[in-house]
Symmetry: D2
């Protein structure tokens, strides 16, 4: 089941995947670089028995990209064994690490998550209390699972920055970052884990909710709705697909344009483009054909063939575009490189005008809580006046959804983390200035 | 360029790929099982120099699936070297083969295409005449390229069953099964090769059209429009994407249904679903979320999790479907297995009614000209009365596009091969009853 | 059994190996580049059923080093299937090939052996007669096996240049290049195949001897005794190990030297060094330690470490050599490169004098019958006056065994091929001047 | 240089190999399962720059066979980075580990060596003192290297159980388990590290000898001379090859036999067989032919072919053995399985009598200091009366070298560890009864 669920969360991390099972008092772990379907062969799964398991897919935001950082992290320590799977980013991990190292701790990885393991190993308390103490000392964003033999503990940080939800499949509990994984395995959604909540599943079969931390205001990451989560997930009560369509509708309202048709950048912009088309009354067409066979493994020709890589992935269809005024909708504009190529290709396929519409506000700040945004210098909206970006990507016009429009699309009820748009970071970054000076490197 | 173009034709064959270049009087060949992007690394391409090249992607319809059948086939024979790339299927290949073997010929592969090579090797004529003689003796469907050192010959069978078109990139000629490959490399479409036409490209730089065969009526494969070709290709003057939308429109006209929304089976049914939605006035929604990370490599759970594989690929979105009457549009219904699972999943996601609409007629006959249809027993429309299929796949209603509707959608001007729908085969299958009795097997 | 026997013949070819079995009227073939133990896994062997089989290990002397030249060659042709395993070299293969190609034959490999297959495929006669006709037309050296379904035919060329012997294991016949393979599988030696003899094994269980060719004088390759065969084989009645010891004894008699000890270049020179020590009365010592872990995969340091590769394989033992006058015995001196390094290393380990003794005559001519000697320019004894070679390799003295001494050591009874020593080639090389102009290259 | 030297020590461990270099204040590590020549490609070596390096080849005697136990172990800890390469076995590692784990230490491997790293990381002292403290607390056998950035520390346990020697190459120091590695890289032997000595090499270029531990009597492992070390090494002043010949001579004196010839089990018994032949006056012959192509990868036939594996490696030569009374000499007799097969094969090749002579005493006890002896139940000399072993292996007579004879052969001067022969263990095994209860398992 854990394996099947990881398939449904593959979009959240493609660098490595791992599963740890608890079997007859022991933990059994398998972690590799690669995709879930490549890593877990029938033979591997057969060697992962046991009634409970946790899994993880990782893409790297803290710590080097290497097998030693693949999760769930596992250790054998004085009181037994422990596995941890963490989505998010601790903001004082280096501070804690340096302190622990002064007291003789030896770290196995460069992952921020490993400090939690050392804090637990050094605690004199029982499992649940040791986890509380460790999470109390660590700051930042985390949707996290701990497995100690028969006991699994799930926790969501006090701002609820990353999503986490609870499901049920027959008599078993399931926990996942997104509800789409429940659909895949036939489990039913029970509820979201609340910000600052800690939940203990033990061999009694029950589920115990603890609230050891003072609760903060909610600050769920808005980018989960804009881009990161699957459209078939429901997060904190709101359908991602419906939210995206609504973003497109509000965008059409805020930034209309006279045109012949609306096309999405598939698949990321498809839901918003549908919303834009619906509100504007313009026909929705597939003007960019997405190839199903594009891996990362083609060779970019050195010259002559402009934009080959982008065309290979998204080829403009002359039959749709020739002679037309086209609205192109995408979910976000990060560096602007690909968007510029898309606009150029659409023009070459005969479009008379190209109007670019983005269903999120300009991204000006780096995420510190677990989304892999580029450095601020690489963010085009940070680097360039908005008025110049349209020219830079070669569009006849460019418009972004407003931050208010975005909040309205996802529902104004709860609070959100809007740091990447407006720099309002809910948790301070205490490791600023600290650097992990690794004096050895394993090849 | 050949490598880049093969990327654009990858959908036509995923079993093997190959390129042969002509360099300083020699042919250099590289063929492997796998996808274009996996096979052709920078290192491999660097070892394939030369001013002209032909390439091929294969999926197996005649001959075993093995490297020895990968194309372009290449041989060294008395007069030099020769490479052949063939799309289609010869219908008297075994008859010719048995005759040649009686005269001492030794075949290297089980491919039907190899008989052409032996006929050419045994001819006393020059290159162009030897190709004419060989094609005169072989029957069936072929869009085919021959390369002899500096000369490349392209030919399309007399019924024009498979597509073939000519493009130009600066001073060079390009030939491709589909025009989308021209877009990728920045070449311009010149025209389609005509049925029964043979075209000679030689080192003079010119292009010479020959018509050595009596011309038959046109019988282009309709399935190219329905499913096989890319939506961004234009075949014999007709946009595939526009044809598909039109199929959806006519389908809506022929088989309307009262419903809340129209969803495609993405991506194959998307264009037709747009057409259906437009004509019917129903909203077009994304009710099935296609995963970008599904390879062929997941493990189907042995029990309990119904339809996991299909959900992993196409997960229904409860937020869209719950409580709704849904029209689902797909391009074809072959075995009915997947469609049944999709209908079941949509229902489990809360749909009140599920109406299945297929934008092509029932497929009742196997293709003998190069499309890999299953045997006739496996074709659900051959095996079961139409009135029972809706029940079989669990839909509240089922309707197919009529054959007349399909012809109308692609344009009535030319003739088409409709054999898979109505059994009207333009070329008789002369190898019926013959079997290649291989008395050795290479592991 | 074939697999086990190939292990015992691995020294005769390390480039590729193959087995073909006859099973229920079909031949099943498996050939790969690599060593026997790497290629034939339990899984592969399980897919090679059948009551009879032939196998081959190849090192390349004619035709490129590639999988398509791996043997046994197999074909499907008009009358059925055929597999061939050939040790030796045909001297008119290119002449025959060019003639066959003029008549439309298409060759799959660059192997000389393939001409026999085409001759058989084009013959109107039955299996045995077709083999006779083909061998009659082909000249050169061959110990060869043909397998047609139930029938296996073994033949040795009319001069008996390469060895071939017959054994028996319970009720089954076994044929092998060397008798050591019989020891491994527990078979008993019956007799050598005679020069010019052809033997037919069919499903009757009997063995039929034919003599279709006029018999020539015997010309067994002397190099089989000197270097190529295993010391535990017996060829044409003579133990290879005993012959080598005798070479050492006669060498000691012909070229004595005052010294403290005799050391072999292990393992090739060990038997001759024992003979030398015994005749001379000098102590036999292990002065060069052969490493068991040397593959072909070490990296030669670019500078500074002289002769690292040779020392890694054969490290001189200072404790044995320091201050001593040393006789070093090796079986042959081909290019002189390694010998020079060995002499230098022995000197660096403290030897006072180094006397090099070679238990075969100077090699001055290339073998045209299946031993992979370098070109004549690379043969030091062809390129340099004998009197200068000692200086070239840095030895205090150098002596070769005389050709008469070598003949005496192996027994004067039969005739031998001495071409590599004296240029007396028993079969003329008819392909001189012909070249296989391959105008295509498969990567 | 480290890489080249590891080639020369490959016989000491074939499970894994590793190199760590110090480069600009950082350590860079590469460790893999496999052989030196397979692991270190030019590409890998290019990524290991730096003026100093340590390397290791491992075969497993403590800790599971897995990559995480491959050495040199490396860690990043509070004061920097550290790499350790250890030959030997700590006898109180588990005791120390359990104690450290009680104080929150988290271990990365199951290797005994890792406790040293934790002791050093928790010490408040400088590098050299921290190493002293750690070695003071750990007991057992060790020839060990520590690398901290620019400083390398070498140490040999107080009994000198495992060998360790110092060489010089131009201006650089070299340390190795065996002197043969110096020969390979052209370094000169300086001296052996003394038991209980600790040597510090730092960036000053000098070498500083410390004696922080009370010196015990010498107890060098006798098995290094009998079997483990290379014959071209010199250990504590004694040539291994000369020692082995001497063992054979004393064995001939202690246990003569009337026979026709002496043959070794090559290559392990060759030196002793030479000594035996020399003292007895019997001719030394090669009666068992060792194949150069035997990997671990052949498939043992399930039946019928007795002793195939042993024959494949060591085929008896009928020409040498037929009708003869044979003395077979091997260096040791551990389980007796292979010896029994060898005797049977020699008899089948025609030998009239087979007398087995072993150039070491009966092995009755397991090694606890780093040689991978089987459990005591598997040791034939422990399990069976000596008088029955000859019958068990099928020999006409069997004799071992006496322990006194062995000591005499290696020189009576120093003290030796004779534990495997007589159970006299110089260091008590404090971990007896402790077990590493691993409650997690990484696949």
């Amino acid at each position: 089941m854990t394996y099947l669920g990881l398939h449904g969360l593959q979009h959240r991390g493609q660098e490595s995947a791992g599963i740890v099972t608890a079997h007859e008092g022991r933990l059994i772990a398998y972690r590799r670089l690669g995709l879930v379907g490549e890593i877990f062969t029938p033979d591997v799964l057969a060697r992962l028995p046991g009634p409970s398991a946790i899994g993880h897919v990782r893409y790297s935001t803290a710590g080097k990209s290497s097998l030693s950082n693949a999760q769930p992290l596992t250790v054998h320590y004085g009181k037994g064994s422990l596995a941890v799977a963490h989505n998010g980013n601790l903001t004082n991990a280096l501070k804690i690490r340096k302190d622990l190292e002064q007291h003789g701790a030896i770290f196995q990885s460069t992952s921020d998550t490993e400090v939690l393991i050392h804090l637990i190993a050094r605690s004199g308390s029982n499992d649940v209390d040791a986890v509380c103490e460790a999470l109390y000392r660590a700051h930042g964003s985390y949707s996290i699972l701990f497995m100690f033999g028969d006991t699994v503990i799930a926790a969501r940080d006090a701002f609820g920055i990353r999503p986490l939800c609870i499901g049920k499949l027959d008599d078993s509990w399931v926990v996942s970052s997104e509800s789409a994984a429940f659909d895949l395995i036939g489990a039913e959604m029970v509820r979201d884990v609340e910000p600052g909540e800690m939940i203990v599943f033990d061999k009694s079969g029950g589920m115990r909710s603890l609230r050891p931390f003072p609760r903060n205001e909610n600050r769920l990451c808005l980018f989960e709705y804009v881009y990161f989560s699957r459209p078939d997930s429901v997060i904190d009560g709101r359908s991602v697909y419906e939210a995206r369509k609504k973003m497109g509708e509000i965008l059409a309202q805020e930034s209309p344009v006279e045109a012949d048709l609306v096309i999405p950048v598939p698949d990321s912009g498809t839901a918003a483009a549908l919303g834009y088309a619906r509100h504007s009354g313009l026909p929705f067409e597939l003007g960019l054909i997405r190839s199903h066979y594009v891996g990362r493994t083609f060779i970019e020709p050195q010259q002559a063939i402009r934009n080959f890589g982008v065309k290979l992935k998204l080829n403009p269809s002359r039959a749709v575009l020739d002679g037309k005024k086209v609205v192109v909708v995408d979910d976000s504009l990060v560096r602007g490189t690909t968007s510029g190529k898309i606009v150029e290709n659409i023009r070459k396929a005969g479009a008379r005008e190209v109007h670019f519409r983005v269903s999120s506000p300009p991204i000006r700040y780096s995420c510190k809580y677990g989304i892999d945004t580029p450095t601020e210098e690489e963010l085009i909206a940070n680097d360039m006046k908005l008025s110049k970006i349209a020219g830079h990507i070669g569009a006849d016009s460019l418009a972004y959804l407003s931050l208010d429009g975005l909040k309205q699309a996802v529902g104004e009820g709860a609070g959100y983390c809007t740091a990447c748009f407006d720099g309002d970071y809910p948790v301070p970054f205490e490791d600023e200035g600290l650097r992990l000076q690794l004096r050895f490197e394993g090849l």
